[in-house]
Amino acid sequence: MPNLTQKLLSAHCDKDTVYPGDLIQAKVDLVLGNDITTPLALREFFAAGFRRVFDPERIVLVQDHFVPSKDIKSAEQSMMVRQFAREYRITHHFDVGSAGIEHALLPERGLVVPGDLVIGADSHTCTYGALGAFATGIGSTDMAAAMAIGEVWLRVPEVMKVVLTGNRSRWVSGKDIMLAIIGRIGTDGARYMSMEFQGPLVAELSIDERMTISNMAIEAGAKAGIFQPDEVTMEYLKHRAKRPPRLYTSDADAIYQEELVMDVTGMEPVVALPHSPDNVRQISEVGEIPIDQVVIGSCTNGRYSDLEMAARVLRGKKVNPNVRLIVIPATQQVYLDAMRAGLLEVFIEAGGVISPPTCGPCLGGYMGILGPGERAVATTNRNFVGRMGHAKSEVILASPFVAAASAVMGRVAAPWEVAS
C-alpha cells in the first residue's frame, strides 16, 4: 500500500514501512551545499568539534551563487569552501570552470540517481525528484550534521498526488504547468507535503521539464516533488549515472492525503505577477505591462532545452530597445551545447548578453540587479519583494517562450505575438 515517498524513505532508515508523521533518522546518499550555505555549515561543523566527514565522495559542494566572486566578502566565503574541499578531499567540489547552478549540474553529471535520498542546503534541492529520488532542502546545521554522520532527521510527509493529464498546446511548457498548479493551490498549498506527479501527461514531459516542475514544488511549500522513474528517466541516465538506480513505484492502492487533477487541455501559457509565485494569470489576461529586463536562466529554466525554447522565439528578432536581455546557461555543458548549436549567436544577434553559469540575478546577487521601480520578466522561481534587487523592483515569473517574447515586445507578451 505504500506510496513512492514512503518507499523511498523506508529504504533509507531501519523501518520496513514508514507512515506520515513518523520522525525518522535517515541515511543520505548525497549531501549538497553551495557557496552561501556551506560556509555557515562549516562554521557549525568546526564549532561542534567535528574533524571528519562521513564519506568524501558523498558530499557535493557547488560554487554557484556569487561566483565568479562578485565582491571581497563573497570571495572569502568561496575560499572557505575551496580550502575545506581540498583538506577533506571532497571528490565533488565544483568551482569556476567546472561549476554551474547546482540543481542543473548534479543531474547532468549523473550524481543523482533514482532511489536516492538527497539533502541539500538549498531549498531547490527538490529538483531531483524529477529523477525519482527523494530530495529535499535543509539548513546549514543539518548539512553540518549530515556531513559528519551521513544521516538526517526527517518527518515522513503526507503526500499530495498530482495527476497531470490532457493535451497541451505548443507554447505550454513544464513551467506553465507548475505555475498553474501553484496558482491553484497557493504557496502553502502543499506545505509540508511530498507531491507525487503522475498521470498520462508525464510520459510526454522531458526530464528537463520534469526538473522545472519538481524544482518549484518548494514554491507550493512542499518538501519534495517526485516523478516515478520511467523510460524517459532511464534514457536520460544512460551514459550518465554514476551509481546504479533503485527503482521504486507507488502501489496501486497507495494512500494520499490529497489529490489534484491538472488538465492542461486548452491551457494558455501563464505568468506569476509580483510578488508571489501563486499570483498566476493567463498570458492573454495580463494586459499592457512594460518591462526593463528579461532574465533567462536559473535552476528552474537554465538548461539546454530552455535556451532552445527561448531561441525558437528570438531567432532573427531584435530585443526591444527598452529591455536588457540577460541569458545565463546553467552549466558549462549547457553553455557549450548552446554555443555549438548556434543558440548563443541567436541571443547575441538579438541584442542579448550571455553570462557565465551562475545564480546571479535570480536571488539578487549580481549580474542584472534591478533598480527602484524596475520590472523584469524572469524564468526563475521566486518573485518575492526585493528578490532581484531593490525592494521597489518587480519580478514576473514566466517560461522561456514568454520571457523571450517579452524581450522582443518590451512588455509581457505571448510567444505567438513574436513567432509562428
Partner: protein, 164 residues
C-alpha cells in the same frame, strides 16, 4: 521566561524578506541582524528590543533554505516567533539552531502590534499583559524537544555519537 513587545506580520513572510540575499556574503549573526526585515519593515532592526516577539500569519519563513534567517532574527534580540504556520525548512532550521518558535492558530488572531507579551515555554503558556489574556501553546513532539533540550542539532548529534 521571554518577555517583550509584539511585532505583528502577515502571511507568507519569506526568507528573502527576513534577510535579503544581498547580505548573504557573511555568516556573522550580528551583521545579519542589522538587516533583518529590512525590505518589508524598514527600521525594524533598529527598533527591536531584546525579548520582543514576532507574531505572524501563515507560512512564515517560506522560500530559500538560508539558515541566516533564523540566525538574523535571533541575533536581532527577538526571543520567539509565533506564527499560524511555518514553512518546513525554516521550522527545522529554527529547531536545529535554537530559535524559539510556536505554532498557534489562535494567538495571531488576538495579538496586536506592540502588545506586551510574556512567554513561559516550559509551562506552555503565553500571557498577553496588555490585554490580560492567557493562551495555551501546543507541545512539541518528543524528538524535537530532545534536540531543543540538547541545545540544538549539533550538540544532540554529538551526544548520540558519544552514546554509540
Amino acid at each position: 521566561m521571554r518577555r517583550g513587545r509584539a511585532w505583528v506580520f502577515g502571511d507568507n513572510i519569506d526568507t528573502d524578506a527576513i534577510i535579503p540575499a544581498r547580505y548573504l556574503y557573511t555568516t556573522d549573526p550580528a551583521e545579519l541582524a542589522q538587516h533583518v526585515m529590512e525590505d518589508i519593515a524598514p527600521g525594524f532592526a533598529g527598533r527591536v528590543r531584546p525579548g520582543d516577539i514576532i507574531v505572524a500569519g501563515r507560512n512564515f519563513g517560506c522560500g530559500s533554505s538560508r539558515e541566516h534567517a533564523p540566525l538574523a532574527i535571533r541575533a536581532s534580540g527577538i526571543s520567539c516567533v509565533i506564527a499560524r504556520s511555518f514553512a518546513r525548512i525554516f521550522y527545522r532550521n529554527s529547531i536545529n539552531t535554537g530559535l524559539c518558535i510556536v505554532e498557534s492558530e489562535e494567538i495571531p488572531n488576538e495579538v496586536q502590534q506592540g502588545d506586551d507579551l510574556e512567554l513561559n515555554a516550559e509551562a506552555g503558556i503565553l500571557l498577553n499583559l496588555s490585554r490580560g489574556t492567557v493562551h495555551r501553546i501546543p507541545e512539541q513532539p518528543a524528538f524535537v524537544r530532545e534536540i531543543i533540550e540538547a541545545g540544538g542539532l549539533l550538540p544532540y548529534v554529538k551526544r548520540r555519537l558519544a552514546d554509540d
